[in-house]
Each structure stands twice: as C-alpha cells, then as structure tokens.
C-alpha cells in the first residue's frame, strides 16, 4: 500500500475530489494547511513597501491506496488541479507498512 499526500489549491478541491470520485477513489482525508514552495510565497509590491505572504493557504488530500493505483491518482490530480502558475502544489507518495481497521480486525501489511 502507498500513501498519497497531495497539496493543492483550496479552490481546486471540489474539482479534484469529483474527478477522483469518477475514477472510483472515495476514501480520503482532507486537511486545511498553510505552506510555501520554492518561490517563498507571494510578494506583493506597494509603492516601495513590500508585503510578503510567505505561508499560503492550501489543502492537503491524504489517500492510502494499492501501489497499482498511484499513477492514475497522480494523473487525475494533475489534470484537474493544474493552473500552470506557481502554487499549484506537490504530490508525495510513500510506503505504508500497516493498514489496520478500527471497526473490524482488518489488517493489511503489504
């Protein structure tokens, strides 16, 4: 199993969520986060006075899926979450050792 952590624009959440649904991916955890990328946030210029907004609101989608679904999820998030401008986000994929249910004794270890 893999964990997909996608950090995207908050205003794109509805579209990304819907596209994932259409591909059959329902389970997810969504968190409101703040962060910055290589551009160090957004710098606004006012007549000599600079205002830096270095932590920008984003949304993080966490999903745990079989290894074989990862490529399709990445494609789907890219296709719907992309504007082409700085700040579209990042996707991180990592290995998950155990998935254990709470309601049942389900245990997946691969």
């Amino acid at each position: 199993m893999k964990k997909v952590e996608a950090i995207i624009r908050p205003e794109k959440l509805e579209q990304v969520k819907k596209a994932l649904e259409e591909k059959g991916f329902f389970p997810m955890t969504v968190t409101e986060v703040r962060g910055r990328g290589a551009q160090k946030g957004i710098c606004l210029q006012f007549r000599g006075k600079k205002i830096e907004v270095d932590l920008i609101p984003k949304v993080q989608i966490d999903m745990v899926v079989p290894d074989s679904d990862v490529a399709l999820i990445i494609d789907t998030i890219r296709a719907t979450g992309r504007t082409g401008k700085n700040g579209d986000g990042k996707i991180f994929v990592s290995h998950v050792e155990i998935v254990a249910g709470v309601r049942t004794d389900e245990m997946i270890t691969e």
């Binding site: 794109k12 509805e14 606004l44």
Partner: protein, 398 residues
Amino acid sequence: MVLDSGDTAFIIICTALVLLMAPGVGLFYGGLVRRKNLISMFALSFAALAIVSVQWILFGYSLAFGPDIGGLIGSLEYAGLQGVGLSGDGIPDLLFMVFQMMFAAVTLAIITSAVAERIKLSSFIVFGLLWTTLVYDPLAHWVWGGGWMAGSGILDFAGGIVVHISAGWGALALALVIGKRAGFGQYSMEPHNIPLTLLGGALLWFGWFGFNAGSALAANGLAVNALIVTNTAAAAGTLAWMAASWINGKPSSIGMISGSIAGLGAVTPAAGFIDPIGALIIGAVSGIICYYALLWRLNRSLDESLDAWAIHGVGGVWGTVALGIFALSGIGGITGLIGGSSAQLALQAVGAVAAVAYAFAVTFMIAKAVDLTMGLRVTEDEEYVGLDISQHGESIYV
C-alpha cells in the same frame, strides 16, 4: 419655526440607528465573501461612512438640499454648512442635515456589493467620492431637495429611488465595468461565515426603523405607521423568499435574511403612504421577485457579487411603483390604484425608470473613468491572496 424637543430627540436617535446600518452592511457583506476578504468588506463600509461624512459637510448637503438650480441640483449656498443653523421647523436644520448624511453613507456602503473581493481601496475612495457627488446628491435633490421629481409629484418616502434604486442599479453598472472575480463560475465561492451575515442583516432591520420612521421627521403617528409597515414588509419578505427557495431545495438562512432586506428595501419608498396590509403584499411580492432576480443574475453568470442589484435595485423599483398601487389617502394623503386612482402609479413608474437610467448610466461612466485612470481592480496576485492582506495588511485570525 418652533423647535419641538420630542421631534428633535427622536430624530437624533434615528440618526444613530441609520448610522449603525453602515457597519451592518459591512457585516452582512463580510459574511458572504471568502474569509480572505472579510476585513475588506467591513472596511469598505467604514470608508463609505467616512468619505460621505466629510463630503456631505463640505458640499454634498448643499448639492442635495441647497436652493434649487433648474430642478437638477442644489446650489453651493450651503457649502461648508453655511447658513445651516441650530433652529428650524420642528427640528434644527443641522439635525436634518446629519440625518440625511447617514442615508448617503449607507447608500455608498450598499454599492460595495459590486466590487467585493477585487476592488483597489484607493480606487474605491475616488470612485465613492465621485459617485456620492454625481449620482446620490442629484437624485436626493430631485426627490427630496425640491428638484424636478418633487415638482412633478413623484414620491419617495424614505429612499426607494434615492437609496435603493441608485445603489442597486449603480452596483449593476459597476460590476459590469470591474468584471468578474477570478475563478467566478469555475469554483465555489460560498459564504464563509453565515452568522455574521445574519447579524449584519439583523442590524439592518433594526436600523431600518430609524431609516423609515425617522423619515416622518417628527415623533408622530406617521412615524409609527412607517415603523409598523417596515417591520411587516420585512417579515413578509422573509417568509416569501423562504417559501420560494423551499420549493427548489432547503430554505437557507441566507435566503431568509435576503428576503428581509428585499421587503425592507421595497417598503422604504412607500412607508409613509400605505397601511400594514399593503406592506404585507409589497414585502411578500418583493421577496419573490428579488429571489428570481437573483437566480436570473446567476444564470447569466453576472458577478454582481453580493446582490445589491437583485435585492436593493429590483426591490427598490418594485416598492417605488407599488407606492402608486397601495397608497391610501388616510395615511399620507395620496390615493393609489386600489383607491381607484392611477395618476400616482404613472408618476411613480416615470420616477423609477428615470432613476434607473440615471443611476446606471452615470455610475457606468464614473466607473469607466476611474478604471481607465487608476484601475479599479487589484492585481491577480493581490486578488488571490485576498484583499485583507493585500489592501489592509491584516488577517481576521492570526
């Protein structure tokens, strides 16, 4: 020219009630925008209050209520409040001046609906000064200051033409010039804080008692009648909008409070001429037509963002015309269609159409002029980050 202490005390209190409507509009609008723009909406209402308060003292009051020039505008005789004194007929002239000042301020606050989440603060200050001078002051003069509408018998008790048509139709023109918000129609722009909007709406309803009852300019029976028809129309508008939206889904609280404002806006011009049964009909009809006006705007994907046009503009036209239908001679001395006279209805229709045309056309020109010279909009990045940070350097939570 004898002062009445009761009348004077009453209008001082009404002035304060109307003042509270400016932050009321700020709260109402602030809850409807995304959270990155709440401070901006609130600040625009305070800016409107401050701009008009200064402009009104210097020359606005004189343009609206100074000695008439050709039925079109007041002269500058009262500029800087020269000759506006402590005495007056019933209430001091100075009190009438400040009571009217609050109306002008609230009107400018209402129009900020059109530019929500994308206006440059400095451009709003310039636009607001021009708008209150070139749109509000002439209209106030036409109807209340002895201008051509007053001369031809067109009536507006507390501001259906002067406040609601001017702000509502001005907002439509302004929205067309400034353009849609980035992402409008592509992703959700749901209200971020509904309780703020409800509280703002409640303050408006409260302040409206001063607005309409105070427009009797005396603590008398006419003021009491205005207060009661105001409350009745607000309630009828609330229930009507609720019913109309219930048919299409769940009746939202935002819909209910929008219906209240629709009823309040519509009863405003008629409040001194109708009885509570007339108010019931005016309010209920307003709730329904404003609801459908809002749907029409959404279907046309017009980004008049917070619906000053659908609620104040459409409700104001309806109320101005409805005065000619429901007026009863026993209340304000005017007989409407239900009393068998159609003369007032025709006059009201002329007044409404003229006010719509004037407010729309002149607002459009002012907005274009400001847009071409200094730009109405913030940059794309500033809009994305939100006006709270980009225009005020603040966020609602730290």
